[in-house]
């Protein structure tokens, strides 16, 4: 059972991304109007825009929050070939009374020669690290050695993926058994290089990232990719938004003590859903990886859940305007919810719908 709330975002153009902060109380939106807006949830559950400013000289594709251990920090990336890091400054008292805050730019990352398509912070146990991927197929990993000084970032790795990149996702696992790993998706129309998803892993010996696996069965353009929270499992789960929704299981194979290359991964497809019947643009996991949300060109958000037998099924469909689809599974009959009604916010565009971490 869902309660949908609509927020008039007041962006002057398409909204491309929506991102919740770690606690689900703040939200950032970015748009083709070149600006980023930050929203705060008040005690009564209303969302208020507390900041709105021009961030780039082109469409802003993605926006993402750093872990609150590093303060209130945002990163954005844009068609203007740059990515930027922003920090919130605690304002004057009269600003606070009006409910406004200021964000200032700490750094601009200008290494890319083409549009920067995604920006993501690495898991916090790796320090303050930022990753970008560009349309020219290069993934860049930056690090801020002093977390109190956000204007100093050094480029640590530059990885060429050979295919135009559209999205990245870090494996959130902090287990010692898992070296740092990220996945890159590509929307390249090139058919020579078959697999459109590549997995890279950090090698302690070479101190570099090397390709561990290419998912050869994903041959269509990939629009979004998301590792699921790990839950202490030995294997990894990856969701992919392409012409349909796909969930993969990546099982690390036992490594021989002499091998120095990346872990060999066995790739298994767990589920594949074409219910959207069109391009799927976003996939997003909940906190415990028990629920996956997807959004597609059919204007719907779908929720996917596995039962205790590990069979995945659709448990809810929402139209872009927040209304439920009639006849969708999970509709209440005689009984309705007593505790635990969830809140899903919907926006003025279809592509940028993201799962709120508080929805379970």
């Amino acid at each position: 059972m869902f309660v949908a709330r609509s927020i008039a975002a007041d962006h002057k153009d398409l909204i491309h991304d929506v991102s919740y902060d770690f606690h689900g109380r703040r939200m950032a939106t970015c748009s083709s109007d070149q600006s980023v807006k930050v929203w705060d949830k008040s005690e009564n559950g209303e969302w208020h825009c507390t900041a709105s400013w021009k961030t780039h000289s082109g469409s802003v594709w993605r926006v993402t929050w750093a872990h609150p251990e590093f303060g209130q920090v945002l990163a954005s990336c844009s068609f203007d070939r740059t990515a930027a890091v922003w920090e919130e400054i605690v304002g004057e008292s009269n600003d606070k009374q009006r409910g406004l805050s200021h964000w200032i730019k700490r750094t601009t990352l200008v290494d890319s020669r083409t549009s920067v398509t995604d920006v993501k912070f690495a898991p916090k146990h790796m320090g303050l690290m930022l990753t970008t991927c560009s349309a020219d197929g290069v993934v860049r990993i930056y690090e801020a050695p002093d977390v109190m000084n956000l204007s100093q970032w050094s480029l640590q790795h530059e990885i060429s993926c050979k295919l135009s990149c559209s999205c990245i996702s870090w494996n959130p696992s902090s287990s010692r058994a898992h070296p740092p790993m990220f996945a890159v998706g590509s929307d390249d129309s090139n058919v020579t290089y078959g697999g459109k998803v590549q997995i890279y892993e950090y090698n302690e010996n070479t101190r570099k990232y090397s390709k561990a696996e290419t998912l050869m069965t994903v041959t269509d353009a990939v629009h979004d990719i998301a590792f699921a929270p790990n839950l202490g499992r030995s294997f990894h789960v990856l969701a992919i938004a392409t012409k349909d929704v796909r969930i993969f299981k990546l099982v690390p194979m036992r490594k021989e003590s002499t091998s120095t290359g990346p872990t060999k991964l066995e790739v298994q497809i767990v589920a594949q859903f074409d219910n959207h019947n069109s391009q799927v643009w976003r996939v997003s996991w909940n906190i415990t990886s028990t629920l996956l949300a997807s959004s597609g060109d059919d204007g719907c958000v779908r929720l996917w859940k596995a039962n205790y037998m590990d069979n995945w099924k659709c448990t809810g469909i929402l139209k872009g305007d927040g209304s439920p689809l009639t006849g969708s599974s999970g509709q209440p009959t005689a009984m309705s919810t007593v505790v635990g009604s969830s809140v899903q916010t919907s926006q003025s565009t279809l592509n940028g719908i993201k799962k709120c971490q508080t929805l379970c």
């Binding site: 059972m1 770690f22 606690h23 689900g24 109380r25 609150p68 251990e69 590093f70 303060g71 209130q72 919130e88 605690v90 916090k124 109190m148 929270p229 839950l231 202490g232 906190i287 415990t288 028990t290 039962n307 205790y308 037998m309 999970g330 209440p332 009959t333 005689a334 009984m335 309705s336 919810t337 007593v338 505790v339 635990g340 969830s342 971490q357 508080t358 929805l359 379970c360």
Partner: protein
């Protein structure tokens, strides 16, 4: 406003009906699965179950009895029949006495019905009678009832005839009283009571299915509740859980029911090796839902504690997402993490709070949080800020905190220095100059103080040097001078690198000269004092 109240009222009514339905299901599951009554007792339990969930009979009876002439009340016969349908024969007899009093002419009929009612055997599980013996006795009584019907003993009194037919277990008569029965499961139990009281658990579902079919109109469809009850009568636990999961929109009921059944080892006995996983799965779902609530999340913690496989990791993931609105809430979360040795979560939460405090320039709060996080680097950073603050403003903020650091002081060198430096100020304030002097010196010689701060410390030493009484001994003064020389040689070296305004340089030079002078004077006085023989 009225509309809102109406909406609220209807929501409440709906929730009450859900609660009643849940109670109904729960009690039936208790009877069938947990008590697992055998034939004989089974019917008695089911009778209790029906009586428990049909309260309106007593209300009506009260109304009738409180009226002036109960036997003439329009609901009188409804009450009597309802009592009979529920097997409450004693109460039916008492009601009939009132009617009998009004109709002396029909005395023999009333006597007869009273006899039939009083003689109906009820199985006594604790007694000596076996089920077979009871069955024989019951059939005997049943035959007697049938004889009365065939003899047309009650032909002249429609009501008594109906009662007799009910006692005989006549289905058509029972179905004529659908309104009084109101539910098919009442019909089921009543039917069993008067036709097959020794029903075995395994036979229940035949009767249940047929009763449901008979009771419902040809047009109406079974509701989800009906299907759930039917699945229970079929002893299909899994189906019950599944149907409840679909019909209800939150996991509260199924999670607790499955947990109970699992503890009674009933899930395993149904040959499901994933029995315990099902329980954990549902509990995890329920508890995860609780975590979204602003105050119920604390309950969820207990649920996770009782999920052996995934409870801990779920808790780790969920608890770090609890919004830390206030310090009090943060402390609550921390206590939960501390109790479960979730040290990484403790560190993370303290770091988040420390960062937030620092951003808002609440240095004291930031410091105490970073001490709690055992974050040496951050503690160093905040101590630097404190010291910078002191240099610019001449006073310390958050004195309470710094004074009461205790062993936490040792977390970082800078923090230790801050604590000790504040101690120096306290000693000075208390005019314990000797101790203050010793402390000041040790801060420099033991290298606790950062080099950048030495000038400030030496400047602090000035008033001690200028006192009438000699405080620093000759040796101590020598050491001070040594420190000064070290400092000036360092400064000279660094001065070449960093351009200073001539004004700054002047100030520096003046300070150094003042110090040299004071030190020299002090040295002289100290030598004299130490060389003097006390008279």
């Amino acid at each position: 406003m009225e509309e809102l109240q109406q909406v609220a009222a209807s929501v409440l009514v709906l929730q009450v009906s859900i609660l009643l339905a849940i109670e109904l299901i729960w009690n039936l599951c208790e009877v069938l699965f947990i008590d697992a009554a055998p034939a004989g007792s089974l019917l008695l339990h089911l009778l209790d179950w029906v009586r428990l969930h049909k309260a309106d009979v007593d209300e009506k009876a009260r109304e009738v009895l409180q009226s002036e002439s109960p036997a003439e009340h329009r609901d009188y016969w409804d009450v009597v029949v309802s009592y009979v349908l529920q097997g409450r024969l004693e109460e039916a007899r008492q009601m009939l006495v009132k009617q009998a009093a009004l109709q002396p002419a029909a005395r023999s009929m009333y006597k007869l019905i009273d006899t039939l009612l009083s003689r109906m055997p009820f199985y006594n599980p604790g007694g000596n009678q076996t089920l077979t013996e009871f069955d024989v006795k019951w059939r005997h009584w049943h035959d007697e009832v049938n004889r009365c019907l065939q003899d047309n003993s009650f032909a002249s009194n429609r009501h008594l005839e109906i009662i007799c037919k009910i006692l005989a277990g006549d289905e058509d008569t029972l179905l004529e009283h659908k309104e009084l029965l109101s539910t098919w499961y009442h019909f089921l139990v009543t039917r069993l009571l008067f036709s097959h009281p020794t029903v075995k658990p395994t036979e229940l579902h035949y009767y249940a299915q047929s009763c449901l079919t008979m009771f419902l109109d040809s047009r109406s469809v079974p509701e989800p509740l009906d299907n759930i009850l039917l699945a229970a009568f079929e002893f299909d636990i899994h189906q019950v859980i599944k149907d409840c999961s679909i019909a209800l929109n939150n996991w509260w009921f199924v999670a607790h029911l499955t947990d109970l059944l699992d503890h009674c080892k009933l899930l395993q006995s149904h040959n499901l090796h994933f029995g315990s996983n099902l329980r954990e799965f549902l509990l995890l779902e329920y508890a995860s839902g609780l975590f979204t609530h602003h105050s119920l999340w604390q309950l969820a913690v207990d649920y996770f504690d009782h999920c052996p496989e995934f409870g801990h990791v779920y808790l780790e993931l969920q608890i770090e997402r609890v919004p830390l609105d206030t310090e009090r809430k943060a402390l609550k979360v921390l206590r939960i993490c501390d109790q479960r040795q979730m040290s990484e979560q403790v560190r993370s939460i303290c770091k988040i709070m420390a960062m937030r405090a620092l951003r808002n320039n609440r240095l004291g709060s930031a410091l105490s949080w970073s001490i709690r996080a055992k974050d040496a680097a951050f503690a160093t950073l905040i101590s630097e800020r404190f010291l910078q603050d002191y240099c610019t403003r001449g006073t310390f903020s958050d004195l309470d905190l710094i004074d009461n650091l205790g062993p936490a002081m040792l977390l970082s060198d800078r923090l230790t220095f801050l604590g000790k430096y504040r101690e120096f100020h306290k000693l000075y304030g208390e005019k314990r100059f000797g101790e203050a002097a010793k402390l000041l010196l040790s801060l420099m010689t033991a290298k606790i103080a950062p080099r950048s701060f030495w000038m400030t410390l030496l400047t602090d030493a000035l008033p001690l040097l200028e006192q009438k009484e000699v405080i620093f001994s000759a040796d101590q003064t020598h050491e001070l001078m040594f420190c000064l020389e070290e400092l000036t040689s360092c400064l000279n070296a660094s001065a070449l690198g960093s351009p200073k305004t001539s004004q700054d340089e002047d100030i520096e030079l003046t300070k150094v000269e003042l110090l040299r002078l004071s030190l020299a004077r002090n040295l002289a006085m100290a030598i004299i004092k130490e060389g003097t023989v006390e008279a």
